[in-house]
């Protein structure tokens, strides 16, 4: 890992800095010269139509994929702290482990002492309301509980950066709203740098400090929008705010032509 890039002017220190990052899968260009600064401790939401390379971008940040071109600088975490942990899209809990074992996975892989594992896992299972279900296996949980366990696993690992790949997309509306609120509550306590991917504009405006709008195939950055809503945020109250509606409308305006373009592209 590299030293943080020296910020130009008065910009806040970046945790992640992408400079003209491109990714090619064979002849298909998934990401085209993406440049982005993600400030330390900010909640960055990347929103875009499906197939815009958002997941590719996140996988590159997670170290699960490599860029074809460009440069990525990720500031070093504190000594002993993992650089990032990912909340994956869909079911990623190990079916052969209980909720407890899943949540403890990252810590155990890092060889953290078992009494500390117990303390940390207990804390995050309590925060996510899963203590009572600690000995259950994933197939015995509802979809919402599984996603909470997956979030607990990532938070318990205490990463410097939290990467979230459409973590709520498979959930129903009620569960989604509740989990967004829970996520905000936990995040507001820890203030980690978050990179969150979604295709939902509402979700982006609800959660983010910074919204990155991406274009479809090849993935490019269309706009970066700052969200000024104060924290802590209340998800329901926020949606009642007229400024919320305006921002959602504005971002939809940015996205709409991209969605249309993506559709036209698929029709070819």
């Amino acid at each position: 890992m590299m030293e943080p890039v020296s910020p130009s002017g008065s910009a806040p220190t970046s945790k992640v800095s992408l400079q003209s990052v491109s990714k090619r899968h064979g002849r298909h260009l998934a990401l085209d010269a993406v440049s982005l600064e993600i400030p330390v401790g900010s909640f960055c939401v990347i929103v875009g139509p499906s197939g815009c390379g958002k997941t590719t971008l996140l996988r590159i940040l997670a170290g699960l994929d490599t860029p074809s071109e460009g440069r990525i600088e990720i500031a070093d975490p504190s000594p002993g702290q993992p650089s990032n942990s990912m909340v994956f899209q869909g079911d990623s809990l190990f079916p052969w482990m209980t909720v407890w074992e899943n949540a403890a996975y990252g810590l155990r892989m890092r060889g953290v002492a078992e009494d500390e594992v117990t303390a940390v896992v207990t804390r995050f299972l309590e925060k996510t309301g899963l203590m009572a279900a600690r000995d259950r296996y994933p197939h015995q949980l509802s979809g919402g509980m599984r996603q909470r366990a997956s979030i607990a696993r990532a938070f318990a690992n205490d990463p410097d950066i939290l990467l979230m790949d459409e973590p709520f997309s498979a959930l129903d509306e009620q569960n989604k709203t509740l989990l967004q609120q829970e996520l905000l509550r936990i995040w507001e306590e820890t203030r980690k740098t978050v990179v969150f991917i979604t295709h939902s504009v509402d979700e982006a405006v609800t959660l983010g400090d910074q919204i990155v709008v991406m274009t479809a195939g090849p993935g490019r950055i269309k706009a970066v929008v700052d969200v000024g809503f104060p924290r802590p945020r209340n998800v329901l109250e926020l949606r009642h705010d007229p400024a919320y509606g305006e921002l959602v409308y504005a971002i939809w305006g940015q996205l709409r032509e991209e969605v249309d373009r993506a559709r036209a592209g698929k029709g070819n």
Partner: protein, 268 residues
């Protein structure tokens, strides 16, 4: 018209009835029924008792042999060879199967060897095995081990390969070492298919131990059967067959119990 929906009739039936008609009851009744028919036919002279002694005669003879201790020596010898062969063949098969499932080069190197040698009837290897391992315990154990090895290695490799790749991504993201990827992801993830392989392998081992003991052995159930054939002691031959069938049944039930223990997360 009014449609009236009432609970299905069988809900009101007594519990003992549903228990009685359960699969388990049927699977106990069917062999007993077959033996009863055999018994009656033998007693009434429809079957030649020289070739098909009545089951009760066989059971009586079995008890005699068990009382004199001769049966137990042979059962013990066969079970010992079977047990050691299961371990000698099964453990490397699991290790190699996991490596084949996880690493492309290992698979590329071993797959052709395994595919080419798998169709060789294992019993046809007996002369070669006798040549290599001699006439003692080694050749018997080797036969069982070969029989166990193939189904376990093939099922293990398939078990790892059919794991959703997301689990390996989780392992990489949480910095699991190679050993931990083996231990916490590949092994438990492939466990359902590994157990299937072990069950097939144990059955194959039982077949092969009986064959191996018929040639150049001085103990074991195979030896007992072959010796009885040479002495035209048909009832003892049947005792051998009955005991092998019984061992097969007990072994399968034991493996089922182990499977339930090892894979508590599999939906029952």
């Amino acid at each position: 018209m009014t449609t009236i929906i009432t609970p299905a009739k069988n809900i009101t039936q007594p519990i003992w009835w549903t228990a009685f008609t359960s699969d388990r009851a049927i699977s106990i009744v069917s062999p007993i029924a077959l033996l009863t028919v055999w018994e009656v036919c033998a007693r009434l002279g429809f079957l030649d008792e020289r070739f098909f002694p009545a089951p009760l005669h066989i059971v009586a003879h079995m008890l005699d042999m068990a009382g004199s201790g001769g049966l137990w020596d042979n059962v013990g010898a066969s079970l010992y060879r079977l047990g050691v062969g299961l371990l000698v063949g099964g453990i490397p098969a699991i290790a190699i199967g996991l490596a084949m499932g996880l690493y492309h080069p290992v698979r590329a190197a071993l797959d052709p060897l395994i595919s080419a040698t798998y169709p060789i009837p294992k019993s046809s290897l007996l002369p070669l095995i006798l040549l290599i391992f001699g006439i003692g315990e080694g050749s018997k154990i080797a036969m069982v081990a070969i029989g166990v090895f193939y189904p376990v290695v093939i099922n293990t490799a398939v078990g790892v390969r059919q794991l959703p790749p997301i689990y390996l991504d989780v392992g990489r993201n949480f910095k699991a070492s190679s050993w931990n990827t083996f231990r916490t992801i590949a092994l438990p993830g492939a466990m359902p298919l590994i157990m299937t392989g072990i069950k097939l392998g144990a059955g194959m081992g039982l077949v092969l131990i009986a064959i191996a003991e018929m040639v150049g052995a001085k103990s074991g159930l195979g030896y007992m059967i072959w010796n009885a054939w040479e002495l035209f002691d048909v009832t003892t031959m049947y005792v051998g067959l009955f005991v092998i069938a019984l061992i097969g049944f007990i072994m399968n039930s034991a493996l089922d119990a182990i499977e339930r223990r090892l894979i508590p997360w599999k939906n029952a």
